[in-house]
């Protein structure tokens, strides 16, 4: 009776492990008993899982290749278009022709932007993107991101202030940088000239928070949870260019950091917060 119980407990434990994603290879599966048979069946289920996972990985790899190929393929003609457009620019053109060229240039840039975004998103969607939490220096990451948008900010005479109260936040340098770029980009895009943007990094009980605060157009009430959706465009973005992809991806990236994002509306503008788990030291 007792032995039976032990056997069943063993089976339950094994199943738990399979559920957790572990691979099991119980030696007992070779025994000629009922529990042996069950273990064997568990092993087969485990194998099926593994097989399917591997199949998925293979598919993913294939898609990875496909995406790479598409990217590659697309880039070539796009680069061509750009080259020739530049060439055209350098030639003499009538006013009307210049207008047309401008339109083509814009369209091309849109396509490029879209393509890059789509590729990024695709890669992200199929989890090509791996988050490697390799840096603890948030300040440098933020500074790098600020550098990337410096031109755009200066164009509108927007000042960016940085206040680091906590620096020691574990994160993936590249991807977090991307997220911050995205946030800064949005803030700049939807702020007026001579506006200010503030970046803070503080520590809370359970998470560390990076806040990007602006005094721009902000969002409408009720939109707070919608803006993170894939193709959502806020009602206040009517006349600016954007494709509503950035926040969705940013949210996903932060999720992979075991963190989350949150937006808080203000009477003027808004606060975008990135929450990342506190370092356990």
């Amino acid at each position: 009776m007792l032995r039976r119980n032990k056997e069943l407990e063993g089976i339950s434990a094994a199943l738990e492990r399979v559920f957790g994603g572990e691979k099991i290879e119980p030696a007992i599966a070779l025994k000629d008993s009922l529990s042996g048979k069950i273990y064997h069946q568990i092993e087969r289920i485990s194998d099926t899982f593994t097989y399917r996972e591997e199949a998925l990985t293979r598919e993913r790899d294939e898609i990875k290749e496909l995406v790479s190929d598409i990217a590659h393929e697309l880039r070539t003609p796009l680069t061509n278009i750009e080259t020739y457009v530049q060439l055209l620019k350098d030639t003499d053109l009538t006013r009307e022709q210049q207008k047309y060229l401008q339109a083509i240039m814009e369209a091309e840039q849109n396509i490029q932007f879209l393509t890059e975004s789509f590729i990024k998103m695709a890669r992200f969607e199929i989890q090509l993107i791996q988050i490697k939490k390799d840096s603890c220096d948030i300040e440098s990451t933020i500074l790098k991101s600020i550098l990337q948008v410096k031109k755009k900010a200066e164009a509108k005479n927007i000042t960016i202030a940085l206040k680091i109260q906590k620096n020691d936040i574990l994160h993936d340098k590249n991807w977090l940088g991307e997220v911050i770029v995205n946030l800064l980009d949005n803030s700049i895009k939807y702020s007026d000239s001579d506006a200010a943007i503030q970046i803070k990094a503080i520590e809370n009980n359970m998470f560390s928070e990076i806040i990007v605060e602006d005094w721009g157009r902000g969002i409408l009430p009720g939109e707070e949870n919608l803006i993170f959706k894939r193709f959502y465009r806020g009602k206040n973005t009517k006349d600016t260019r954007g494709y509503g992809i950035g926040l969705y991806l940013s949210n996903k990236i932060i999720h992979l950091h075991d963190g989350f994002m949150k937006v808080k509306r203000k009477s003027r503008g808004m606060e975008m917060s990135i929450f990342l788990p506190n370092n356990k030291t």
Binding site: S12, E16, M206, K229, H255, D258, F260
Partner: protein, 227 residues
């Protein structure tokens, strides 16, 4: 996959004075992995709805399916065990069993089911919630907020398919509340869990993927995901 499906729920109470319609023909569907916030004023029926979805209360009419199983047709024992294995609960008040300490409270549902405790996982949850130093404290030694966090840890410990929370941030200050909900979100996305919370706090509600408004027992607003 539809993890929660409720059709034409009606719940009526008769008191000595009159009949109260807590829920008046409510139907909702929640997909796996969604984070849903239910908002409404006091007495709107939101708690009743949550209780019914979690099998804690029986609708006067209508059906509820969780993970495809009709829970209003189950008998008591089946329902209890179903809850134990599939749903995690967080309440606003009275969450913890007063005779067990924090750690025991957190792993209680696992113990009830006789499941082995994944130490690493539990440790991780406890650390994320900042409870490491209080593992052997009794509930009456904790503040309201700390008790809430223990309840959340418990809700997460069984990695249930569904987490139902009734005003889980009621006793927390706003910052902690945000963090706690964030933690739920993080865990949910990691384990592909579905979360349904009731809140009257707008800021908290807006952290959800989808907000459902309920008033006078009827659904007055529902943001479906735009695909």
């Amino acid at each position: 996959m539809k993890v929660i499906e409720a059709n034409h729920l009606k719940k009526e109470y008769s008191t000595t004075c009159n009949t109260v319609k807590a829920l008046d023909d409510v139907s909702i569907t929640i997909q796996e992995g969604e984070f849903v916030a239910i908002v409404g004023s006091s007495g709107s029926g939101k708690t009743t709805l949550l209780n019914i979805l979690g099998g804690l209360d029986i609708p006067t009419s209508g059906e509820v399916r969780v993970r495809g199983k009709e829970i209003n047709k189950m008998n008591e024992e089946e329902l209890t065990i179903f809850r134990r294995r599939n749903i995690g609960f967080v309440f606003q008040n009275y969450n913890l069993v007063p005779i067990l300490n924090v750690l025991e409270n957190v792993v209680l549902p696992l113990n009830l089911d006789g499941r082995p405790v994944d130490k690493k996982f539990i440790d991780k949850i406890i650390e994320s919630l900042g409870l490491q130093s209080r593992l052997d404290h009794m509930p009456n030694m904790l503040s309201g907020g700390q008790q809430q966090r223990v309840a959340i840890a418990r809700a997460l410990s069984t990695k249930p398919a569904v987490i139902l929370a009734d005003e889980p941030t009621g006793n927390l200050d706003s910052k902690t509340g945000i963090e706690v909900i964030g933690l739920l979100k993080a865990s949910a996305s990691l384990f592909h869990q579905t979360i349904v919370i009731i809140t009257h706090n707008e800021e908290i509600a807006q952290m959800a993927d989808r907000i459902i408004c309920i008033e006078d027992g009827r659904i007055t607003g529902d943001q479906h995901e735009k695909q």
